[in-house]
Symmetry: C2
Subunit: 426 residues, 2 copies
């Protein structure tokens, strides 16, 4: 496709693409954006080397002119968008790419793949953290998705609000706090649980977390208390009826003089199971599989759509365009996005203004600006770190009433409204 655009002299036309979802997966009230910073970091390395070009030549996939075009590729356009940690709704233009048509098209898969995976996980993480209502949440899903994805999933989960990850490489790369617990294999490796826990107390510390369900939970707790003189940091329970086991364990720990010991539970926990467990004496939740696979929705559903193209008639200039087929309609024209808030600061509308009316909009109403210029003529002009993203989410969540944040199977919390210049005022 790129090849025919280059050959038909279309690749250098000015174009504008917007990235948005048509719906939020599973009827959740909103999504949490993550991945933008990874897009920006990857943009500098987005080039085609000799190996790539040789393959394309050997397979006759592109012509010589397009090969030269790819060899010289460097992004020269603008990228504007929502910040990581911002929440979004159907049709929120979370990223806008303004560039030559060829440049913009070639970035489509790269940008979508990052935003779709990272936002799916940040959105799931946020629901799990919301369900945990302030209890500690550890992400420990690395073994469930591919190695590189696991590192990136840890990042997205941290943006979504988890306290800590078990992925050390994510800790190394982005400074995310890391933690771990022992495994069943650790306990099984020793001649007995007593021996295993004595070694854990000696080498990992009395205040570490003891996995007590390898053989028998009650005896496991007694062994952990004995091995630590009741100074254990906590226990982890990974099987059985977690709520019942937590109650029994709490009583036993207290009776044995280990009131300080925390109770952590794990085992395919998602927001629904955590919500069911929230009245139990549980201090920390470990979430793996469900979190890193998006809790039932492994991809956020972002699409990348051309909304404006340079007309061949210079008098027309940029021309709004949109696909016009059933079920997948969208509106042409570049949009300026603001969130309309009521007097209490609750979001009541995602307001999308056609670009032309920028100036008048800036002067009116209780709107919060949503878009930020990340790349200015090919140069990265603004970046936020992972703590910024996490803080952004904490801040903007206040725009969504607490009682609907965990809702699913219903409508988005707010809907997008497209304004032209006149309607927008007042």
């Amino acid at each position: 496709m790129l090849d025919s655009l280059v050959k038909s002299d279309q690749a250098e036309k000015k174009s504008v693409f917007e990235i948005f979802v048509r719906e939020i997966p599973q009827g959740r009230p909103f999504g949490v954006l993550a991945g933008t910073e990874r897009v920006l970091a990857g943009l500098a390395d987005f080039t085609f080397n000799g190996t790539h070009l040789s393959f394309l030549r050997s397979q006759n996939i592109i012509s010589a002119i397009t090969r030269d075009w790819l060899a010289d590729f460097r992004f020269t356009g603008n990228i504007t968008g929502y910040r990581e940690g911002e929440i979004y709704f159907p049709f929120s233009p979370v990223l806008t790419v303004e560039a030559q048509l060829g440049e913009a098209l070639i970035l489509e898969t790269f940008i979508l793949s990052i935003l779709n995976s990272d936002s799916a996980i940040a959105s799931a993480a946020n629901r799990i953290v919301e369900a945990a209502s302030g209890r500690f949440v550890m992400e420990a899903g690395s073994r469930r998705i591919s190695p590189e994805s696991a590192v990136n999933a840890a990042r997205a989960a941290y943006i979504g609000g988890v306290d800590v990850t078990s992925n050390l490489e994510a800790g190394r790369r982005w400074g995310i706090p890391t933690a771990g617990t022992a495994s069943h294999a650790f306990t099984l490796a020793f001649g007995s649980e007593e021996e295993a826990f004595e070694n854990q107390a000696k080498y990992l510390g009395e205040d570490s977390i003891f996995l007590v369900d390898t053989y028998n939970i009650e005896q496991g707790i007694r062994n952990a208390v004995n091995a630590t003189n009741a100074n254990l940091g906590g226990i982890r329970i990974d099987s059985g009826n977690l709520g019942v086991e937590a109650q029994i364990s709490r009583k036993l720990l207290d009776d044995l003089g280990a009131r300080q010991a925390k109770i952590m539970v794990s085992g395919d926990l998602d927001e629904y199971r955590i919500k069911d467990l929230i009245t139990e004496p549980i201090d920390a939740f470990e979430s793996g599989h469900k979190l890193v696979t998006g809790s039932g929705s492994g991809s956020a559903g972002f699409v990348y759509k051309l909304v404006e193209i340079e007309d061949s008639d210079p008098l027309i200039g940029m021309r709004p365009v949109a696909k016009n087929t059933s079920g997948k309609k969208s509106k042409g024209g570049r949009k300026l996005a603001k969130r309309k808030l009521d007097l209490a600061g609750i979001a009541i509308e995602e307001s999308l203004f056609l670009d032309a009316c920028n100036e008048r909009i800036r002067t009116t109403g209780n709107f919060r600006d949503l878009q930020y210029l990340f790349v200015d003529e090919g140069v990265i002009s603004g970046r936020f770190n992972i703590e910024d993203a996490r803080n952004q989410l904490a801040k903007v969540l206040s725009e969504i009433p607490k009682e609907i944040r965990l809702r699913s199977g219903s409508h988005p919390a707010v809907t997008a409204v497209l304004y032209d210049g006149v309607e927008a005022i007042g």
Copy 2:
């Protein structure tokens, strides 16, 4: 955890770990194994460099002795397992790692993460291909999952049976056949659909696939036929009621003299939607989102469990071990796996023999060997390429009756039975 094993002199004990699932996601009859070859390829690069070690030191995560242990890490054990493209059931030991405890433990996340992601996608691909009943299937989900995952997903999907991928990097890396179609942006980039299709015919070829649903499908087909003198390769429909549109389109193409033109459909297709469409005049299905996110199950659910450990008493030698808690029981001891077939070659049992009885088993019954020695004392001793894996699946699928292959919400096609030496005979 590794640190305390090294410090307590446990890391060099001989150990055996088995990788298996406790259940097949969504009650499907079987899973399709993929990822083993990626594990083998990655094993050689599985080392810890100065950057990794500095991070671990700076964070006080491990002691100096364990840092030295990591710096010298090289896998010296054996890996045995099912071939890629083999099908598996609950408790099938798809990979067995026999190594020093520290070596085996440190590979856990690496191995599980690859097998869990690749097998989830190969399993979904196989269901989609099964539903397509011989029609052409194209994988085009790269934009839905993270960039590196997309390349690996294309590989797993090809093992699962898809005909072609849209991911060019997967084509470059593994020789998988690639293909692509034009996008809505391509059509929108031109002044009119007529102009777009004329350029597509000129530069991509008259025999390419025309995306006809940007504005109006009927007019789109007429424009594609006009632009190609009725020689178009085919059309793609991405929206609307795909079955109805395919019927109308087939009649129109035939009426316009384009009987050779194929009809491809796309748009969040999974095995269920494809099954519903199979009586329609559709020649090819494109599957993206649902395929690369595992069609509802993004991770296969493999666990990595210690089954034997060297006892500190040399007279005991290797000692079988197993976790013994509710809901997550498993059986200790290394297993030899064979598939028991009836006289028609249909699988009737996954037969797991405790290692000790190898010799007697080899002489009896209609059992097919399932395990292959991939790594022998740290040296890769056997590898299969992606076509081998694909052929393996095609072959072993014949062991599962066609009418239950697409089943879900039920039991596995066969169950695993653990035999001791005496029971195995006869």
